[in-house]
Symmetry: C2
Subunit: 405 residues, 2 copies
DNA sequence: TCACTTTAGTTCTGTTTATGACTTATGGTA
DNA sequence: TACCATAAGTCATAAACAGAACTAAAGTGA
């Protein structure tokens, strides 16, 4: 595991043994209210009171604070009904921003996200095996350019989230330069000290993508899901009741390592067959040398047949693990995201779903695969959510003595 | 799903949108403190303040309340150190009790548990396909007898927990009487109204067993685990960060339904091969007619060989799903409980672990199987914990507007 | 037109609960 | 025996929400 990832695995039962006090309770209520506004769109104070279970005066106080802080705005009155028309409240899209950075072996990308969930600025560099200095320079340059446009105030930035694969500096891939292992020894918090002084939060890419889907994607309607991230490798993330579950050693969702044992030939791991690099290898073996995912959309007849073969094979390999997920975890759905083009994801999802239906036997409930609302940008967007989560949104925040304190 | 099980699946994000108030916060702190005493054994107020993050006066107030309520007792002073000797506090084993009832197709059992986790009374009836009236009569008779001894005061009972298989009235098994389907239409809360008027809480048996293991078994040291319950059928339960995860439709842990597709022959489900009834069938086919699990401990050579064959086969079938659990969920361990005799569980655990080690390939971390601390009684004990959880122990209790309110 | 109704939202007071400073208690240590 | 360290209680204070009363503003209908 990367040294920066999940720095604090909670001690046994300790996590649930924290008391709370009035300040914490108030903070929690403010976070809950903000989240209710974020999720419920423009919403009146009376509705907020109903949803949160708080009383009208409490909501009045909390919304007053949120208005003063500029996190929400008044968004028109609700006319046409009896009684005093209610003032609707909505997230202030310029109220606060967060920076998300995704580092992967074949690209680095940066987004600026607002609290309403809109990507307000984006920058990507397609570069293989970028080293820390290059990434830091990229982040500094792009962020300066974004801030220079003036639409985003530096003071409104609440933090920097970084999403990167667990094994970035660990696994040595064939074409990987030797010094790439430096990532394993890099402290990301100091690496980005050249930026405006922001809190830096780190998460693995699949987890970040899952978090993004939970907060701003289909997860809003499906609080428990497995997120399947098909990028350079194959990763996954588990969101249960709206909460990301990291696993005992921070390795939940490592679906890519699942062993596949074919009837003949040696065993291999699932991501050797189902991943962007596996797909590129498959296509190359058929004589189609692709350089980027979008090349998959402009294939000739033969290329399309090769792609269809890969999809059928991938669906066959995925259906078993997906059945396991359905039975063991029973999430509402499995969302598929990553860097595959949308139509290819759709085909893979359909093929896997029908494979599962054919194989399911007595399985009582199948969690259907669906294309995720966030795909290519998902890890970066998810990374950007981390600071929001820590500062503004409800979580385990009612508890005292967090790792940071 | 049984109608009584998980009556309130939380609406999407709503679960996390509840505000809190002072009373709730205070209640939460009291629950947290009680749990800290329960888990931490005899413990001083100063240590409680350290663990919970509350201040000494707050702990003083809370412990005073707990002492008045009789839930904790003073347990000797801590001498031999500088300063005033601290008073150690411990759970009052006679402070409160809970009744747990396990209903299964081949037996019904009842336990009375105290808050310290001790089974204070126990009753079992080995009866096939007991009907509701019979179970109610059993519970009434046994509970009266227990209360008649006088060691347990009726006033100190906080509730009745019931654990039963999800599909008790649903699935129709070969030897099952037709009227057994009445379970599906039975309201358990009214069924047990003949008892002292206790809150009745219902949970499926695997979930209850997992909960029991989490609160009073190995789960205290391993907050995230999968519990594998081998009883008449095969079930499972998922505990993550000390919290039982029920699944989107309340069907997490349904490992028994996982399809097995052998190289030759038709597909079947895992519990057709790995379960007490499957084992009995296997032994019967070899000429060994067993009537109860303990018969497995007194087999002759041939019987032992037949048992070993079954264990090898079961280990081979379990290793795949167990690898999936390791990769996808990454729990600290998998605990195996149920009605198999301990030595048989040990053999099965060892066989499965070595099978997994052989097959794991690149899997970064394996969750080892271990024999659960609670086995045969686990569902009943877990059921008895439900009322404790609702009334006394911390959970999602900081939130307002629970399903009950 | 105008009083009435209805709903939104604020103000004020009261309650609960934890905190902080201070005090008391009690046994070890020099 | 004087001193010190630690435990734990007391009291006043602050923070936060609840409840009741009040004001505001729009629709309703005679």
């Amino acid at each position: 595991m990367h040294p920066d990832l999940s720095p604090s695995i909670p001690a046994a039962v300790g996590a649930s043994l924290s008391g709370t006090n009035l300040e914490r309770a108030g903070d929690h209520n403010q976070r809950v209210t903000l989240q209710a506004i974020r999720v419920g769109g423009p919403i009146t104070r009376a509705e907020l009171a109903e949803i949160t279970g708080l009383t009208a005066p409490a909501i009045a106080n909390i919304t007053k604070r949120l208005l003063v802080e500029g996190l929400i705005v008044e968004a028109g009155r609700l006319l046409g009904q009896r009684g005093q028309p209610a003032m609707k409240l909505a997230i202030n899209p310029n109220g606060c921003f967060s920076v998300g950075l995704n580092i992967d072996r074949d690209h680095i990308s940066l987004v600026v996200l607002d609290l309403a969930g809109q990507v307000r600025a984006r920058a990507t560099r397609e570069v293989d095996y970028a080293l820390p200095d290059e990434v830091a320079e990229f982040a500094r340059t792009e962020l300066s350019a974004i801030l220079a446009t003036g639409t985003i105030k530096a003071k409104r930035l609440v933090g920097l989230g970084v999403a990167l694969p667990d094994d970035l500096g660990k696994v040595h891939l064939p074409h990987q330069p030797d010094d790439y292992a430096i990532w394993d020894r890099t402290d990301l918090r100091t690496l980005f000290s050249g930026l405006p002084p922001l809190p830096v939060l780190v998460e693995n890419d699949a987890a970040a993508a899952a978090l993004g889907e939970a907060q701003f994607g289909l997860g809003l309607r499906h609080p428990s899901f497995f997120y399947l991230l098909i990028s350079q490798g194959l990763g996954g993330g588990l969101v249960l009741d709206g909460q990301y579950f990291r696993g005992a050693e921070g390795r939940s969702g490592e679906i890519g390592f699942l062993p596949v044992r074919p009837a003949t030939g040696p065993a291999y791991s699932l991501q050797d067959a189902v991943s962007l690099s596996a797909l590129f290898n498959h296509m190359a073996a058929r004589g189609y040398r692709l350089t980027q995912p979008d090349d998959l959309l402009s294939l000739d007849k033969g290329g399309q047949a090769a792609l269809a073969d890969w999809i059928a094979k991938a669906a066959g390999l995925l259906s078993g693990p997906m059945l396991s997920i359905s039975c063991l975890i029973n999430p509402q759905a499995v969302f598929v995201g990553g860097r595959l083009p949308g139509p290819v994801v759709d085909d893979l999802v359909a093929a896997t779903n029908s494979r599962m239906a054919a194989e399911c036997g007595q399985v009582p409930i199948l969690a259907p695969l669906r294309r995720a609302a966030m795909a290519a940008d998902a890890p970066a967007v998810g990374a950007a959510i981390l600071p929001f989560n820590q500062r503004l949104l409800p979580g385990r925040s009612v508890l005292m003595k967090t790792a940071e304190d």
